[in-house]
Symmetry: C2
Subunit: 268 residues, 2 copies
């Protein structure tokens, strides 16, 4: 249990609907601009808010969504996974998917919809999450990447940024790179399996990170600190002791949400 996001575990369990139910899993991509994050938060516009509303309209009954990873305001997803239960036992998933694309497009795209076993839980059975963060590292910005990448003008030392990733691999307490969890005493231990910078050319840098789960703002906090290393404000060797310190004051400011995408959720 300690490997899962305490924020996620703290969320109220979905109200149990009665009668025969079918569980549906959706794979959802969204452009986070224009949304106050994923989680429902009335009266502001959230991804879960518009998705729930569309599902309820289509199915004709209240829907409680469970998601794999709640993204913050302005953060995007390519592979968000959600599940919900419906009493429409003969639900036509392909028709549902097409209707949702029409109702929610173009900012939210349901990439697939399928009936799954009731043991599937988008949040609790996920064994890993992959995030991508894009940095545009060149003097001149790109209007087509506004809101989709962090524009950093000064040249970054990508080799140092990659070196600084080494101490992240493995199981660690990531308190230094997380916002305080809402649950008192919740574990901040996460297992990072991969953390890698990829140079795509033309100044585009992509950070790929995979972990069992993530604490709140963990990727943005890591990217902020790694970019500080790339800028020469911190050394690659600093990463290990910042991590060990558990002190959020030693990490750099979190990177902006623009460049962050929940890329993929992994299940057994």
């Amino acid at each position: 249990m300690s490997l899962f996001d305490p924020e996620e575990l703290a969320a109220p369990a979905p109200a149990a609907p009665s009668g025969p139910l079918v569980r549906v899993r959706l794979l959802v991509a969204y452009d986070g601009r224009g949304f106050h994050g994923f989680a429902p938060n009335r009266p502001v516009r959230t991804v879960a808010g518009v998705l729930t509303e569309a599902l309820e309209k289509w199915l004709g009954h209240p829907v409680v969504l469970t998601c794999a990873g709640r993204t913050d305001r302005g953060v995007h997803a390519w592979g968000q996974v959600v599940h919900f239960d419906t009493s429409v036992v003969d639900v036509d998933c392909e028709a549902l998917r097409r209707s949702l694309i029409k109702m929610l497009g173009p900012a939210v795209v349901v990439r697939s919809a399928e009936v799954v076993d009731s043991s599937f839980d988008a949040r609790r059975t996920a064994v890993g999450r992959r995030y991508r963060y894009t940095v545009l590292n060149r003097p001149v910005p790109d209007p087509f990447l506004a809101g989709l990448a962090w524009h950093v003008e000064e040249p970054l030392d990508v080799r140092a940024m990659q070196l600084a990733c080494d101490p992240l691999i493995g199981e660690h307490d990531f308190s230094a790179f997380c916002r305080r969890p809402p649950v008192e005493g919740a574990s901040m231990t996460r297992r990072v399996r991969r953390a890698e910078w990829v140079e795509l050319g033309d100044g585009l840098l992509r950070f790929d990170i995979e972990a069992s789960a993530f604490c709140h703002q963990m990727v943005r906090s890591l990217v902020g600190t790694l970019v500080a290393v790339g800028r020469g404000k911190k050394r690659a060797g600093d990463m290990a002791w910042i991590l060990r310190s558990g002190d959020r004051q030693l990490a750099a400011q979190p990177a902006p949400p623009d460049g962050l995408v929940l890329w993929e959720v992994l299940y057994p």
Copy 2:
């Protein structure tokens, strides 16, 4: 003269400012979403409108912009070229570029600014324009390409679309693919040097076209008809006689503006 856009020639000549003047050339990229096209058109928001306002604020005198190609509402540019004259004879182009990026970002990015000889004219000395049009050809759309590509669900026959490009190469009257010009009797003859579809993978198709100049909506009209060929609604062999007919009714509806980018302007 016949090779240039009659719309462009019909525009009023810039008012001649007095005193010693310096001509400045800007290379401008913009995301066309949120703009009613390039050309000034008060009270609506246009790229030339916001650029002129920013330049006048920075330079402290009225500015008349001349551009290489006026793009329509929702059409983008990576390499739009504009020029203007200023009485600030010692203008610091790099400071100007940086200020414009701050004032106009993130949707409009001035990629470069330089003083040029007064014989340079962004519109009249251009010898070619390159446009790119992006089609996303797969069942599921992509939220990050909304407004930047035309989503076409049904599989397209790209080979037929490429074959249909052959008759476009060379000097032709493109009346069948153009909106009526505002100047009576203006020539619709243009020289197309290149017209090519490139498959980028994952259903992404890019159409690259280079010509001396373009008539109004010519690229969108060509793409609309080429996609009709790809859908099997028209045959590749139809392209030659639609072109010869000069009849706009025989071409397909213009493709949406979303996928279109003024990519580059060529000078001697």
